[in-house]
Symmetry: C2
Subunit: 259 residues, 2 copies
């Protein structure tokens, strides 16, 4: 019995990164893809509360001796919606692994907080599924995934074989392809950073202002041991994530503050 792998992303069902990830997943098991009709980047862990969801079958491929079956759906939901929806209504059994991506653009450092791709992986972790978010730093439609493909396969295979601690997911980022072959993998913490110069103000033809999201990524937390260091030095970064913001080390200080 082949394992069941559930795939999601936030770049939409036609994104190259999703197709690459699906191709690798078929070598390891049967696959259900629940993607988005449109780009849903920066949706974080948002949920759709004000309208119902629809899901449309895009493609169905039977399994062969070598390759698992594939069912691809696209929905109008967010990536986090899509994990909930797929597990409950579109997977024939409990997934053995949930993967999201391969995202076109960095989800390292604080980008993980805004990412829809990682929103899907974190949702899967909350429900106790081994989960991995994959991203490549090149934010273009057609990056060269050939350097990262063996690593994606390896990390997925190890996660299927060895499992992950319940409630954890992995945030895997691959360096810019211009750096050449990947040097290896580093398990890291997320760099602290900030996006500044967030909004560009423009005037419409009626001279009324509107504001476009933009922003400059500012990160001075680049020590060895961070994901930004690993990626800048040609390594894939793997950050274990737990969907819990509690700052345990600050509980005493806040207790002192309110007393």
């Amino acid at each position: 019995m082949k394992p069941l792998i559930l795939i999601s992303n936030d770049d939409g069902y036609q994104a190259k990164g999703l197709l690459v990830l699906t191709g690798i997943a078929r070598q390891l098991g049967n696959v259900v893809v629940m993607s988005t009709e449109l780009n849903a980047s920066a949706k974080s862990m948002s949920l759709t509360t004000n309208m119902p969801l629809r899901a449309r079958l895009i493609e169905k491929v039977e399994d062969t001796e070598e390759l698992g079956s594939v069912e691809v759906y696209a929905s109008n939901g967010t990536p986090t919606d899509n994990i909930k929806l797929a597990v409950e209504h579109f997977c024939s059994s409990r997934p053995d692994l949930v993967v999201s991506g391969i995202n076109h653009g960095s989800n390292a450092s604080i980008n993980v907080l805004y990412s829809g791709t990682l929103g899907a992986a974190l949702e899967a972790a909350i429900s106790g599924y081994p989960a991995i978010g994959f991203s490549i730093l090149d934010p273009i439609p057609e990056p060269d995934f050939s350097y990262c493909e063996p690593y994606v396969e390896l990390i997925m295979r190890l996660s299927l074989e060895k499992g992950l601690e319940k409630g954890l997911c992995l945030n895997v980022n691959f360096p810019y392809t211009q750096l050449g072959p990947i040097k290896g993998m580093k398990v890291c913490r997320a760099s602290k950073a900030e996006w500044t110069d967030s909004y560009q103000k423009r005037l419409d033809p009626m001279s009324k202002p509107y504001y476009w999201l933009t922003g400059k990524f500012e990160c001075t937390d680049n020590d060895e041991g961070t994901d930004q260091w690993a990626l800048a030095n040609g390594y894939a970064s793997i950050v274990p994530l737990r969907p819990d913001y509690t700052a345990f080390d600050a509980i005493d200080a806040i207790n002192n503050m309110i007393l």
Copy 2:
């Protein structure tokens, strides 16, 4: 010179919780409110990438000897957008404190991950502002805020006077008003939990399926020391949050897995 307090929420600019919070904030400083035109619950830390933002002045009130000035704006952005937008284009100086809420409904336990109200507070924390998200468990339009008002004032005043460690924010939840007067405050960790039975399947008049978000909150992590325990026992819960999902204690295990 009065301190500047920036306020946001996810229930929209007409929500009672926002009006209550604004009233308290005026006792402590000058206030800028950047809220949403419509309800933006469960928007997490999502950003608006596919369209520009607009912000509309709703109300402007001059300051008096006792009360600070108020400027209220409503935008088409998410709560996280609104913090970025307000700081950069609508605040005359760097805010001394950012508060979000008072949300109508719980943001304790894992609800914090999906919450737009806390998305705003976490965004402020990333940018180094002392930030607090406030929520009351009653998810109704007109809860009785009278029990929680003195606590909101106290926590805001202490945060202004003593500051917060850079990068931290506080997630403050108040118990159901049916429990009567609040017994005090407990500094807690977030309970682990899960929402199950996520989507209700229905058929439209053409017999095609659609899916409504629903869900059952399942939490067995109710020990003393958790926010769910505090709230169930009549206390306000205060969880210090840090916008970093890194599971530091899992780095060694993942290193062993991939070697």
